[in-house]
Structures are given as structure tokens and as C-alpha cells.
């Protein structure tokens, strides 16, 4: 169970926008930056930075939430390896959270289905369709790995699209009567939401096996298959 004085670190390296959050169940501090592919070099430095500007020590961490993807495979591996090292090293629990669930989370209760997406490299996106049922987001159908211009395919009703667009690609290029894109500040993932989702799992007494946690790998179709 969550410690009322606990401190959770959230790590999201699913895409070229990297994010960290510290959350104690009341206040959330966030750090979001454009890391590009250079996550391996800077992630841990940013973690120690976020801790120090909030006047925390590494030893005060009591749990970790980490984004499992979908996203870029190497990026996810950097976040997961870091989370595992800190979790194992400090003997604290690590919770894996679906990156698309983090993306859909703030649009909870907007009375519209949400198509949450994440860039997956080479101009591709992975997306999933989410609906609000029984006070939580439930995904319908399989996750899709497609090119960005296929992002609005198959929308049969007005849908809110939320996610980070791949570099140099803008949503206005995707005209579709059922697609409504959230504003940039609203459609990007926030590490604070990842922290809340992880925290909720923690106070519900859930547990992940830190060793077995692995990224969610969503492949595109191979040419010719």
C-alpha cells in the first residue's frame, strides 16, 4: 500500500518529448523537455536535477511509475532500464503504465471517445481508441501502427484526437469530419498524469514484477507481408 508520506518518481521516455514528475499524492512537480533521441545521455541527470530543485534526496523516493509504451523502442528501453535500476537499487516498487492511457487520461469525462496516439518513429504513429466506461478508460480494438496520414481512418463518430504529433507533421493536414484535435498543450502527454495513474495502482495495492516489466512493442506491417 502507498505510504501517505510517499514520493513517486514518474519516468516517460516513450517519444522524443521526455518527461519526469515527482508526486506525493498532493503536489506534482514536472519536467518535460525535447530530448530527441538523446535520452540515454541525459535522463538520469534530469532525474537528479528534478530531485535537487525540489530539495529531495534519491533515498526519499518510495515508488516509481514508468511509461511502457507504445513509443520508440530504444527510448522505452532507456526509461525502463533506469526505472529498474532505481527500483531494484532502492528496493522500491516500480509500476508500468500504458503510454496511450496516460495520453487519454486528462480527457476523462469529455463525453467523447478519444483516439490517443504516440509517434513511433519514421513518421509513423501508434494509436488506440478509448471510451469512458465505469469510471475508467477502456480501449476498444487493437492498437494500430500506421503512417500519420492514416491517423483519422475509420472514425465513425466525432472523436477527440490526443497525442504528440511526429516531427514536421501537423494535424491540419488531416481533414476528416469526425476528427477534432485537442490543442497542442492539451494533447501532449504529461508526466504528472503518468504519476497519478501509477499512484492509483500503488494505493490499490497492485504490484508489478520489476524484473519482468518490458516495453509494449507495437509493430507496423512488414512490407510484402
Amino acid at each position: 500500500m502507498a505510504d501517505p508520506d510517499g514520493l513517486m518518481l514518474a519516468i516517460d521516455t516513450s517519444t522524443e518529448m521526455s518527461g519526469l514528475a515527482l508526486y506525493d499524492g498532493r503536489r506534482v512537480s514536472e519536467l518535460v523537455w525535447h530530448s530527441g533521441r538523446n535520452q540515454s545521455g541525459v535522463l538520469l541527470e534530469q532525474i537528479t536535477h528534478l530531485l535537487s530543485i525540489n530539495r529531495f534526496e534519491i533515498a526519499q523516493l518510495s515508488a516509481i511509475a514508468v511509461a511502457l509504451g507504445p513509443g520508440t523502442f530504444n527510448g522505452l528501453r532507456v526509461g525502463l532500464s533506469t526505472a529498474k535500476g532505481l527500483g531494484y537499487g532502492r528496493s522500491i516498487p516500480v509500476f508500468g503504465v500504458d503510454t496511450l492511457e496516460v495520453t487519454a487520461y486528462p480527457h476523462l469525462g469529455s463525453n467523447q471517445p478519444v483516439r490517443a496516439f504516440v509517434p513511433a518513429g519514421r513518421g509513423r504513429v501508434v494509436y488506440g481508441d478509448y471510451r469512458y466506461r465505469n469510471k475508467r478508460w477502456v480501449r476498444s480494438g487493437e492498437l494500430q501502427n500506421r503512417t500519420f496520414d492514416e491517423l483519422t481512418y475509420g472514425l465513425s463518430e466525432p472523436t477527440l484526437l490526443a497525442g504528440e504529433t511526429p516531427a514536421n507533421m501537423e494535424p491540419d493536414e488531416l481533414a476528416s469530419e469526425n476528427a477534432r484535435f485537442a490543442r497542442p498543450s492539451m494533447r501532449s502527454r504529461r508526466p504528472g498524469h503518468l504519476a497519478e495513474l501509477g499512484w492509483n495502482r500503488w494505493i490499490n495495492g497492485e504490484q508489478d514484477d520489476v524484473a519482468a516489466l518490458e516495453p509494449l512493442y507495437v509493430h507496423g506491417k512488414r512490407p510484402g507481408s
Binding site: N38, S40, F73, R77, G85, L86, G89, R222
Partner: protein
């Protein structure tokens, strides 16, 4: 001083605890051979995936085997390169976060330097026969990823005399074994097949590359393909047209039953070993090496050891087979000597997939 060594540069996930750069307290190696066999070689993406789930249990067992608690580790040594980027990332980021979590120094190790230091390791606390290498020594590092001939004048002083300009020696064995249907990894498979073979019936080219200490093995594959061509048969089963595999699976070639596989393997192996042994012996003589040491997977090849022994006047030293594969103990061993020279990494350390072996600037 207890150093935890972490190595994930290719397809082995490994962690080890080594005391004072010499005594192996534990050395856990999780090989992925089973995973890559059906692809006929290492698939980098699959290797990275396996590292992610193997890394923590590997480290945990290494500490348990050594009988060491987390807070007894004095430093962490990790491979920063060269190697596969996606694989290196896993070990490096785990090591960095462990060093922050435990508040201990992090030591960046060149994978090739790790291989060299496998010759400084022992698992016996009191072994009167144990003698570390003497300087200057010539080291031949031969594995699936590397073929380097190095002159070592002292700890940390490396002159790379030569290296492969195309395939590594171990890679040539892998490709050869794939063509001959002998399985993966190719080095041990070809050596096994060659023991029943008679040499001298098949000719394979040797690339001497003039007076240099460089190597070239890519021509061997072409020569081998030419050699087996007359035995080649069309596959009986038609190839599957549609594959649902995310990674292409290796389809082995089919041959007539009378193909003299063992004889071909024997001559093929000889062509690789001949060049390795002769160039190493020549370098040892030219640089008056006090000792010649071997490292890397191909160092386990008994023909290489035998051939070198007959050519060398200096003593030959090689690690036991387990230490010839990629392993955490060699990283911890090399890390100890780097630590003694004051080498530390800060937490912005990143991987270097193309990292060359060179003398540190502080020593040059």
C-alpha cells in the same frame, strides 16, 4: 575492493562481482543463443528485448552468488561500447541508475579492454600457479564482433597494430556455419565438424594484406559458396510466400548427402586460423612480447592455440572458455584498473557503439 561489472553489448546479459580486479566472486552469464538460432545470427532488436527482462535477475543472482549485499558494492563498471546500441542502452542505463541509487562510483569500460582483462582473472582465492600477463604483451582479440591485434605496453597503454577491415573472424565462422548448415554460433560448430575432416582437399584464400597486421575475412564466404555450389539442391518444400514473422527467419540451404562437410569445414577453419596465428606470431616477434594473450570467443578454438604454440617463442596465455565469451567479470576486472587510474563516469555517460580501443589521453 568489490566491483559489480555489467555487460550487455551483444547477445549475452551478464553481471559479475570481482574483488580487486582479480578474484571472481560471481559471474552470471545469460546467453541468448536459443533466441537467435533460428535467425542464423544475432537479431539486434531481439537481443535488446531480452536484455530488458534479463538484466535485473542477472544482477540479483550475481550478488547472491558472490554472497554480497547491495551496500557492500564499492563501484560499478559497465560496458559503454563498442556494441549494439539497443543492447548497450540497457546495461548502461541500469548501471548508471544503480550507481546513483547506491551512491557509488561508475566506471565506463571499453568492451575490448574488458576482453583483454579476462586474462587477469581467476576464481581461485589461493592459486600458486596463477600468473597475470607480463608487459609488453601482444593480445589477439577474436570474437563474433571483433578481430584486433593489440600491443599492450602497460595497464591502459594500447597500440592497435591491426584489425579486420571487413568481417570479424567469429563472424566468418558464423557465416561459414550457416552455409554449411552447422548451426549457430559458428565457431564451436565448425571446430566440431572439422575434427572429423581431412584437410587439404579444398582451397580457401588467405588475405595477407601485404605487411600490415590487418585482417580480411569477407572473401572466405564467397569462396565457400563456390565450393558448396556443386552440391546444392533446390529445397523440397516450397518456401512460404507469406511470413507473419516480424523478423526474417533463416532458411538453411539444402545439399546432396555426399557433400564432404567435415573436410570443407576443416579447410575453412584452417584458412581463418592460419592468418590469425601467423600475424600474431609476427607481431609478437617484432615487438619482443614477453607474453602473447588471447581473448574473445574464438580464443577457445583449439587449433588456434595449437598453431600459435608452435609458432611462438614467447609464452601463450588464454582465459578459460567461460571468460572468452562476453561476461561481466572481465568488465569488472578492467574496471578495477581504470578505477586505480582515477577514471570515473558522471551520470551523463552515454553509450558509444563505435568506441575504438585507445590509450586514455591522461596516459598518452
Amino acid at each position: 575492493m568489490l566491483i559489480l561489472g555489467i555487460e550487455t553489448s551483444c547477445d549475452e546479459t551478464s553481471a559479475a562481482v570481482v574483488e580487486d580486479g582479480r578474484l571472481i566472486r560471481s559471474n552470471v552469464i545469460r546467453s541468448q543463443e536459443d533466441l537467435h538460432e533460428r535467425y542464423g545470427g544475432v537479431v539486434p532488436e531481439l537481443a535488446s528485448r531480452r536484455h530488458v527482462t534479463a538484466i535485473i535477475p542477472t544482477i540479483d543472482v550475481a550478488l547472491q552468488d558472490a554472497g554480497v549485499a547491495k551496500d557492500e558494492i564499492d563501484a560499478i563498471a559497465v560496458t559503454e561500447g563498442p556494441g549494439l546500441a539497443g543492447s548497450l542502452l540497457v546495461g548502461l542505463n541500469t548501471a548508471k541508475s544503480l550507481s546513483v541509487a547506491w551512491g557509488v562510483p561508475l566506471i565506463p569500460v571499453n568492451h575490448l579492454e574488458g576482453h583483454i582483462y579476462s586474462n587477469w582473472l581467476t576464481d581461485q582465492e589461493n592459486d600458486p600457479t596463477f600468473q597475470p600477463p607480463r608487459f609488453p604483451c601482444v593480445c589477439l582479440i577474436v570474437s563474433g564482433g571483433h578481430t584486433e591485434l593489440v600491443l599492450i605496453r602497460d595497464h591502459g597503454h594500447y597500440d592497435v597494430l591491426g584489425r579486420t577491415i571487413d568481417d570479424a573472424a567469429g563472424e566468418a565462422f558464423d557465416k561459414g556455419a550457416r552455409i554449411l548448415r552447422l548451426g549457430f554460433p559458428g565457431g564451436p560448430a565448425i571446430q566440431r565438424a572439422a575434427t572429423d575432416g581431412k584437410m587439404g582437399h579444398h582451397t580457401f584464400p588467405r588475405a595477407w594484406l601485404g605487411e600490415t597486421y590487418d585482417f580480411s575475412f569477407s572473401g572466405l564466404k564467397t569462396a565457400l559458396l563456390r565450393e558448396v555450389e556443386k552440391y546444392r539442391r533446390e529445397p523440397l518444400r516450397p518456401k512460404k510466400v507469406v511470413s507473419t514473422e516480424p523478423f526474417p527467419v533463416h532458411e538453411p540451404p539444402e545439399y546432396a548427402p555426399n557433400m564432404p562437410t567435415a573436410d570443407i569445414a576443416a579447410d575453412f577453419q584452417d584458412a581463418i586460423i592460419d592468418v590469425l596465428a601467423q600475424k600474431t606470431a609476427k607481431a609478437a616477434q617484432e615487438h619482443r612480447a614477453a607474453m602473447v594473450i588471447l581473448a574473445g570467443g574464438v580464443a577457445s578454438n583449439s587449433l588456434l592455440r595449437k598453431r600459435l604454440d608452435s609458432l611462438l617463442s614467447a609464452p601463450l596465455r588464454y582465459p578459460e572458455p567461460l571468460l572468452c565469451t562476453d561476461n561481466g567479470a572481465m568488465i569488472a576486472g578492467a574496471g578495477y584498473y581504470l578505477y586505480q587510474r582515477g577514471i570515473r563516469a558522471s551520470c551523463d555517460l552515454d553509450i558509444s557503439p563505435q568506441l575504438p580501443l585507445s590509450t586514455e589521453t591522461s596516459l598518452a
